[in-house]
């Protein structure tokens, strides 16, 4: 008996070894940057893994290279708009898509799915012209509007509503509940998890996006955080690595905290729109 058991033990040790190796690869660069962001001005960035005298000095210095609080504020405005519009409109639209027996349903569904074929990059020039035509260049509304309701979110909500048991709906119909009542009292409570996924992905999208804000925000007044960070990039300009690290961590740490708090929704979001479509 000791043979197979020893082999299983060796297998487990090997697995942990591989896991630790991957941990170094996946988290190592991030952890190193985090440590760097906490190092003092004179401390060598390669001096060991942990900063000797941790300081938040660098985070204050980031605010000297660009108006950090203002850019964070701009980002939060876009994120708030995006989360609200996506939650409300995707829930309502997803509900309509999940109901059968209305004229044009197939056509609408086809149109929505077809819109998924166009990569953003292949329509971005036209999108810019449209947003410019609306007078929204260099505004936060212009950053938000094209992503106000994403088709992905519509599909996620549709899938969630499809999973609500029919009997409950039919009982509500017999009780004389109207469409709106059924939507708010029966379907929405049954799709809370999916709604959370929609909110999180919308927030993450608004927080992390770069290319579209780069096109729309021509002046620097309305820059989002990610745009502000690009001033820290550059291969030729000599910038202090500690400041760059602190800037990167300012953008990353809120997402990490959100992720740690709401992990299961993050993972669900990857497959949700999918599984039950």
């Amino acid at each position: 008996m000791s043979g197979p058991r020893r082999r299983a033990g060796a297998g487990r040790a090997g697995r942990y070894l591989a896991l630790l190796l991957m941990l170094v690869v996946m988290v190592g660069p991030v952890a190193w940057q985090f440590a760097t962001s906490l190092r003092g001005r004179t401390e060598n960035v390669y001096a060991g893994l942990l900063p000797q005298r941790p300081t938040f000095d660098n985070y204050l210095r980031v605010a000297e290279s660009f108006p950090l609080p203002q850019y964070v504020g701009n980002t939060l405005v876009v994120a708030a708009l995006s989360v609200t519009s996506n939650a409300v409109c995707a829930a309502m639209g997803g509900y309509a898509l999940s109901r059968t027996g209305w004229r044009g349903r197939t056509a609408v569904f086809t149109v929505l799915v077809a819109s998924l074929m166009f990569p953003f990059e292949s329509v971005m020039v036209s999108m810019f012209l449209i947003v410019r035509g609306m007078g929204l260049v260099d505004t936060l509304v212009g950053v938000w509007l094209p992503g106000a309701v994403s088709v992905l979110n519509l599909m996620i909500m549709r899938a969630a509503f499809l999973a609500v048991p029919q009997e409950i709906e039919e009982a509500a119909v017999l009780d004389g509940a109207g469409e709106w009542t059924r939507f708010t009292r029966i379907f929405l409570p049954g799709a809370k998890g999916a709604l959370a996924v929609v909110c999180i992905t919308s927030f993450m999208g608004a927080w992390d996006d770069f290319l579209w804000p780069l096109l729309v925000l021509t002046g620097s007044e309305h820059h989002t955080l990610q745009l502000g960070l690009k001033t820290l990039a550059g291969t030729t300009t000599v910038t202090d690595q500690r400041i760059v690290a602190a800037g990167a961590m300012t953008a990353l740490l809120p997402m990490v905290l959100l992720f740690l708090a709401l992990q299961r929704y993050f993972f669900k979001g990857v497959g949700e729109g999918a599984v039950k479509t």
Binding site: W32, Q33, A96, T100, V151, L152, G205, D209, L229, T277
Partner: protein, 330 residues
């Protein structure tokens, strides 16, 4: 904008998952049957449209119309500050004779050719690694997902300081006297492109790992038991049970990562700067579209033609993926 690619991703997911689901699971909760047999709703015909209005308006205005407009623009000599006249296919013939266009296309396709196999295979290995129910595995799964929640800009900044000529890798290699001169990871066009690929793969590992975890969870345990009874070792079980069972997911991941490889922009912008590496040598197609089409001298007509060509390239790989998965089902 989360970007259409991720969105299109979801569409692809639904297709392939439906296919795999139908084969494997007894019967997924079928979408409600048509109206027949259901309680009458007394719903005015326009109610669903009222519910869908914001979504339909957004999709029409910022996806369908821009696409139509892009095709129309591509046939004109429009510039950013003035409308254009119809010029037929002149923009397309210009693109086909344009060295910058071919260089960007070559970069985009090379990106795809390198990144897609890596993102099909490595996340699968990672998923198999974290699939085991051993203590602390949840911690590893979460840790491997960290690069996914980081923005492309953050990831770019982090890797910039790993790969710079005075960065981590070069410093360590020089101290170990492996190299005497720093390797120009970010200042040589070819190496810059490779560095960006590395960053893309690193950032994508955790994302596609989650796809594979979902697929692996659907593989019936009895298959492994049967294989183990037949005396198959771990490697044998992987290749004769796991791989065939997750093959539809591999095709899906291949399609998704191919489409997103053609969309690469930010990694190169952050790592190599606004011009896209020295002399723009690491520019990808989205990079070229932005440079040609926007700015004060923006040639929107020409940029639109390149956009249409990028779309066609994306379409080819999407259809290829779909074709392969259909063939797989048959």
């Amino acid at each position: 904008m989360t970007g259409a690619g991720e969105v299109s991703g979801a569409g692809e997911v639904s297709g392939a998952r439906r296919a795999t689901g139908a084969r494997r699971a007894p019967a997924p909760p079928a979408p409600a049957p048509p109206a027949a047999g259901r309680a009458p709703r007394h719903r005015p015909w326009w109610t669903p449209y009222l519910f869908l209005a914001p979504g339909l308006v957004t999709v029409t205005l910022f996806s369908l119309w821009p696409f139509v407009n892009t095709v129309v623009l591509s046939l004109t000599d429009a510039r950013i500050l003035r409308g254009g006249h119809f010029v037929g296919l002149a923009n397309y013939t210009r693109a086909l004779a344009d060295d910058d266009f071919w260089a960007a296309t070559a970069n985009s396709v090379l990106y795809l050719v390198v990144v897609v196999p890596a993102l099909v295979l490595l996340p699968l290995a990672l998923a198999v690694l974290v699939q085991a129910k051993v203590p602390g595995i949840g911690l590893f799964r979460s840790a491997f997902y960290t690069p996914v929640i980081a923005s492309a800009v953050v990831v770019g900044l982090i890797w910039q300081w790993v790969l710079r000529s005075d960065g981590l890798v070069n410093t360590v290699l020089q101290r170990l006297r492996v190299i005497s001169e720093p390797v120009p990871f970010l200042t040589d066009s070819r190496l810059l492109l490779c560095s960006a690929m590395l960053v893309t793969v690193w950032k994508g590992l955790g994302y596609y790992m989650v796809f594979y975890l979902a697929a692996l969870a659907n593989v019936p345990a009895s298959l492994y038991e049967a294989a183990a009874l037949d005396g198959a070792g771990a490697a044998r079980r992987f290749f004769s049970v796991t791989v065939p069972q997750v093959k539809p997911m591999m095709l899906l991941v291949g399609t998704l990562s191919a489409v997103s490889a053609l969309r690469v922009f930010t990694e190169i912008y952050i790592l190599g700067g606004e011009s896209g590496g020295p002399g723009g040598g690491a520019r990808t197609l989205p990079f070229l579209i932005r440079q040609v089409g926007l700015g004060f001298a923006g040639e929107t007509g020409y940029a639109a033609a390149i956009s249409v060509l990028l779309f066609l390239l994306t379409l080819v790989f999407s259809l290829l993926g779909r074709r392969l998965s259909k063939g797989d089902d048959a």
